[in-house]
Amino acid sequence: MSTITFDRVAHAFGERRVLRNIDLSLTEHRIGIVGANGSGKSTLARMINGLVTPSRGSVTVDGLDVAKKAREVRRLVGFIFTNPDNQIVMPTVQEDIAFTLRRRGLSAAEIAERSTAALHRFGLAEHADHPAHLLSGGQKQLLALAAVLVAEPQVLVADEPTTLLDARNARRIGDLMHSMSQQVIVVTHQFALLEGFDRVIVIEHGEVVADGSPEDSLDHYRALLA
């Protein structure tokens, strides 16, 4: 597994401080991040991919500083957003998966082979030539996952990947995340998604207020919500 380190990280959007003094070392296979809306958990997740650069402190992935080596870090870290509509770039399903690989300098045959394999893995083979925008919400999120994982990142960060999905599709995405060999970091409000995770971190007002097993952390979070 990769080692992701937050070293005295703080961040503010203008006057609004969203993260304060975060010190973390993430080495487990499956890590969950929970917290109320506006607690700073999505900002924390975005920092792992370099989408947000900390105002203070540093974030590293396997020793690579995300602020200085963003390109290299993004090859290691894939990112899934809440709304899959916002990450589909190409008009058809297979083209969108292939789009990720086209930037990697692979041959056309290799791109076709890998994108076809991804289509089969994520159950999208029968939709290969279908317009991506006509897929169901669950299929779109599967496509978003396929388009990221086809590049074989070492780490997958997902920001509320099941929020817009019905229970069946949410479970499907959850099962996929449990079956992945990659290190998975999931921001979520849905506790069921975190069953069997190795570690859950609770963020409140930009600070880590609980960090441990899913049972202990979620008990702490439930107490905060009560």
């Binding site: 390109r71 993004r74 090859r75 957003f81 509509d85 990450q87 589909i88 770039v89 058809t92 925008h133």
Partner: protein, 197 residues
């Protein structure tokens, strides 16, 4: 272009995109120059044969041409009264055949193939033009059409639900704001997928 591709393995599908684009250009020019109904009567079966070779389902093919029939319902009578019915008939025939040829290109060519063809065409100008960026720009433009259409539909529904049916502001403001948010999110997703290098 938005999801019109009709998958297949015919030689029309497999023909090089640039060749298809070139043949389409030549075909449209030649159709435009035809002056006799007899010439159109020869061209039309050729186009039908191309659709048959490409194994495009008849319903799909008709679906591509049907929208211009509405326009012809208005234009042909006007043209007939002003310039004569022969000219109006020729104009309608030429338009239908030209649109059918363009539709055949769209139905048998993926967006990726079109982008790659554009990139190949622009490569000699690489010193001045970033062909990959132009390709990405075209892809995003095509992709954003259904995205914005969906936003407009949702805003129209919300407008109806709130009883502000006649208000243009109640349509324009949320559509623009949501489109800007969507553009921002799409940009962030492109960065996350490594498109900022």
């Amino acid at each position: 272009m938005i999801g019109l591709y009709s998958p297949g393995r015919s030689w029309v599908h497999r023909a090089p995109t640039l060749l298809k684009l070139f043949m389409l250009s030549i075909g449209v020019v030649v159709i435009g120059l035809l002056q006799q109904p007899g010439q159109l009567a020869v061209a039309a079966p050729v186009v039908v044969a191309l659709f048959a070779i490409a194994r495009v389902p008849p319903r799909t093919a008709v679906g591509q041409i049907a929208p211009i029939l509405w326009m012809l319902l208005i234009v042909v009578p006007i043209q007939g009264l002003l310039a004569g019915w022969l000219v109006a008939g020729l104009m309608a025939g030429k338009l239908i055949i030209a649109v059918a040829l363009a539709a055949l290109f769209t139905l048998t060519t993926t967006v990726t193939a079109v982008l790659e063809a554009f990139q190949r065409m622009l490569r000699p100008f690489g010193r001045w033009i970033d062909a990959d960026r132009i390709g990405l720009l075209v892809a995003l433009t095509i992709r954003c059409i259904p995205l914005v259409a969906e936003i407009v539909t949702e805003v129209l529904e919300a407008r109806r639900a709130r009883g502000t049916r006649g208000s243009l502001m109640a349509l324009a403001v949320p559509v623009v704001v949501r489109s800007l948010y969507a553009a921002d999110a799409l940009g962030e997703a492109l960065v996350a997928r490594g498109l900022d290098d």
